[in-house]
Amino acid sequence: MLKTQNFQDFRKKAGQAFDNRVRAITAGLGLKELRAVLRGDPPTEKPNPRYKVHTTSFLFHIRPRYYEKGSTILTHTFRLGFFTSFFFFVELITGIILMVYYTPSPSDAYPSIQALLSSIPFGKMIRDMHRLGAEAMVIFTVLHMLRTFLTASYKKERSFTWLTGGILLFITLMLSFSGYLLPWDQLAYWAVTIGTSMADAAPLIGKEVNLLLRGAPDIAADGLLRFYLLHVILLPLGAILLISIHYYKVSREHGISLPAKFEEGNVSPEAKKEAKRRLDFLPELFSHEIFLTALGLFILVFLIAFFYKGAPLENVANPQQTPLDAEAPWYFWWLQGLLKIDPAATIEGLLAHFGITIELSYILPSKLIMGLVIPPLMFIILLLVPYIDRNPSRSLYKRPVAVGIALFTLLIMVVLSYMGTPEYGIEKPPATRIFQELAPEEGEGPVHLIPYDQLQTGVYEVNKTPLDNMCPDLDFGCPELESTFEEYSNLVNDAAENGEIVNPQAFMIVEDWQQFLKKVTLRLGYTDPQTGEIVTPTPERIVYLHCNRLRGKTPVLNPLDSTPICEPVQQ
C-alpha cells in the first residue's frame, strides 16, 4: 500500500514526467499552457513560452510570431490568402486519397473513376471536394491577387512576394489544367487536346513541344502518364516550393501590409498605435486559423452534400469523335476567347476603312500571336507590376491610373471569357445548332430531362402536331414532353424566319426500343437557302433514354432525390 505522502509524491512526479513529454512534443508548451492557448487565455508562465516555440519548433518557426492588428482587419484581407492555402491543403489530402484508387492508363482511368463512385464509400465526396477545391483555389488565388493589387500591398519590400504569387497563379492554373485530363472523359480529352495544340503554333519548336507534352502526335497512354506525373509530382512540388517562399516572406519578413490609411491616411496617433499593436501567433492567430479551417471545411462539406451537382464525368474519351462543344474549364475561357480573334483580319478590316488593302495573315499568324505571344506577355506584365508601378502611394485615391487599368483589365477578361464560350462566334449548321440545344452530345439537354413516363411513343411534327394536350392517354399528361416539343418548334420556326432554313420539316419521333429503353429521334429536313438544294443526308440526332437514368444529377442529400422508377437492370 502506498502511503498518502508517497502517493502524492508519485502523482506529482508522474504529472511532471507527462508534462515534460508534452513539452517535448509541443516544443516547450506545458499542459496548462496548451489549454490556455486553445482557450485564448494569456500565458501561464514567465517568460512567455509561446515565443520560444517559434525558434524550437520547425512547424512554428515558419509561422509568423505576430501580425500587426491593423493588418488583420477582415475587410482588409478577407482571409483570401489563408483560404488559398487552405484549398491547397484540401487538394493535397483529397488528391492523395484519389491516387489510391486512380490508374493512369487510357483503358483503366475511366473505369477507376467509375469504381470510385460506385463502390468506395465517400468516394464521390472526396472527388467532389477535390474538384470544388480546385476551382475554389483558382478563384481565391485571383481574388487574393486582386485584393493585393487594390490595397497596393505589392510595393517596396513586397515586390518579390508579388512575383512569387504571380508564378503561383500560373502553377495553380497548370495544376487545374493537368488534372483536367485525368478522368479521361470526352470533356477532359478534348479540352486538353485543344490546349496542347496551342503549342503547335510556336515557330521551329512547336511540333517538338507538343510531342513532349502529349508523348505522341495524339494524346494516348504516354500523354496521360505525363499529365498524371505533372499533376501529382512536378507541379505540386513546384507549388510547395513557391508557397514556402511566398509565405515565409509574409510570415517572417514583412508581414501582412497595413491598410493604406494607417500609413498615409489622416488618422489619429492612437489609432495608428492601435493598428500597430502586435497580435501574437499564440494564441490569437492560431485559434483564428483553427476557426477558419473549421469554417472552410464546413462550407465545403455543406455545399457538396446539399448543393453541388457533383464533379462532371462525361462519356469515356473517344479520340475518333470530336464533340461539338469542346470546352475549356471556365478559367480558361478568356484564352479561348483570345484565340477566336484574328489580329490580321482585324487590322486588315480597319485599314480597309481608309482604303488601304494589305495582306497581313502571313506576317501575323493568328494562333501564334493570340496563343503564344499575348498570354505570356500579359503574364509577364502581371509579374512585373511592382517594378512598373513606381508610384509610392498606397491609397486607392492616389493611384487612379493603376486602379483604372486593373478594372479595365478585369472588364476585358470578362468580355474575353464571354467570347470564349461556345455560344460566341462559332458557326454551326442550323440543324446541328438546334439539336445541340435540345439534346447535346455531352451533358444533358431538355430532351434528356423529359421524365421517362412522359415519353409517349409517336411521331410529332413541328407545326402540325398541336402543342397542347399531346398525351390525352396519359392521365398525368406530359408537360415536359410538350414544353420540349414547343422549344423545338420555336427553334425551327425562328431559324425559318431568320432565313437560315427553307421549307423545314421537323420531326420528333419517340419509339419503344427495348425494355426500359426509348429512342428519341430529332430529324430536320430543310432546303439550304444558299444552294437552294435539300440538305442530304437529312440531319438527325438520335438519343436513347433508359428509364433507370436519374437525369439532372442531384446531390446526395438533396431531399428531392428520388430513386428511378424502373426495375433493376437484368444481368
Binding site: H288, F291, N315, R523, V556, Q570
Partner: protein, 281 residues
Amino acid sequence: MSQRRVNIEIAIGIIITLLMTAILVVYGMNEKQRMELFDKQEKAKAIEVGAGLFATNCSPCHGIQGKGVEGVWPPLNDPFFFNGRLQEVGWTGTQEDYIISTVSSGRLVSTRPDKYPGSGKPAMPAWSERYGGPLRDDQIKNIAAFVMNWKATAGEVPEAPATTGPPAGTDITVELPAGDATHGEQIATRDCFVCHVTSTAGPAWAATADQPGIGDRAATRIEQADYTGTATSAEQYLFESIVLPGTYLVSPFQNLMPPDFGTKLTLQDVADLIAYLLTIK
C-alpha cells in the same frame, strides 16, 4: 483580437464542427444507396450508349431490332439466343462474356453454316481494335449490355401471323387477291423495317420533306422518263420493287435488297403489303 471574439470563434467553431460531423454521418448512411443508384445508372448508361453503337455497327446485319435476317444473319433477341445458344456452342462463361468475346474477335466460320452462313469469310468480322476492328473494349461492353437487355423480352416481339399459300413469284402482272393493310403493316415491320429506316419521318415509305409517301410515289415513278421497269400501275410498281428489286433503282440507291422475296412471301402476303403501302400517301 479580443478575448470575447476568441470565445465566440471557439463556440461557433465547435458548433460547425459538430454540424459537419452530423452531415458526414448522414451522408455516410446514405452512401450505400447512392452507390447502388450510381451502379444502376452506369448500367443504364451502358445500354443507352450500346444502343447507339449497335445501330451503327451491328444493325446492318442483325437488324435494327436484333431480329437478324432469316437464312443469313442470326437474330439476337429470340429466346434461343438467351436459353440455348451457350449450350449449343459449349460456352462455359456468362452470356455477356459470350457476346463480348464474339463481338471482339468475330467468327471466321459460322457455327451454323446451314442456317446462318453469315457474311461469308469471315462469317462475322472482328470488332475489337485489338484484332483490327474499329471498337474499343468499353464500347464492346456497352454493346453487350444493350444486347443483354433483350433477355427479358426475348420472344415477346409480335410476329406477323404466318400465312400459307402459293409463293408470290416474280410475275408482277398476276392479279392480286384483296389485301389486308393491317397484316401488311405487320409484315413490313417484320421483314422490311430491318433495312428501310433511312428517311426523314421513319420508315422509307413514309412522306418526307420533299416527297409524298410511297403510296403516291409509286404512281408517279412509273411515269418518269428514266423508269426502266415494266409496271403499269402503282400496285405493279410495288410488286416489282419487292420481288424484282434490281429492275429500277431510284438514284442514289444501290441494289442491296435480297432478291428472294418472291419465293419467301406468299401472294397474299405481297397483296397485304401492297395494300398497306398504298395507304401511305
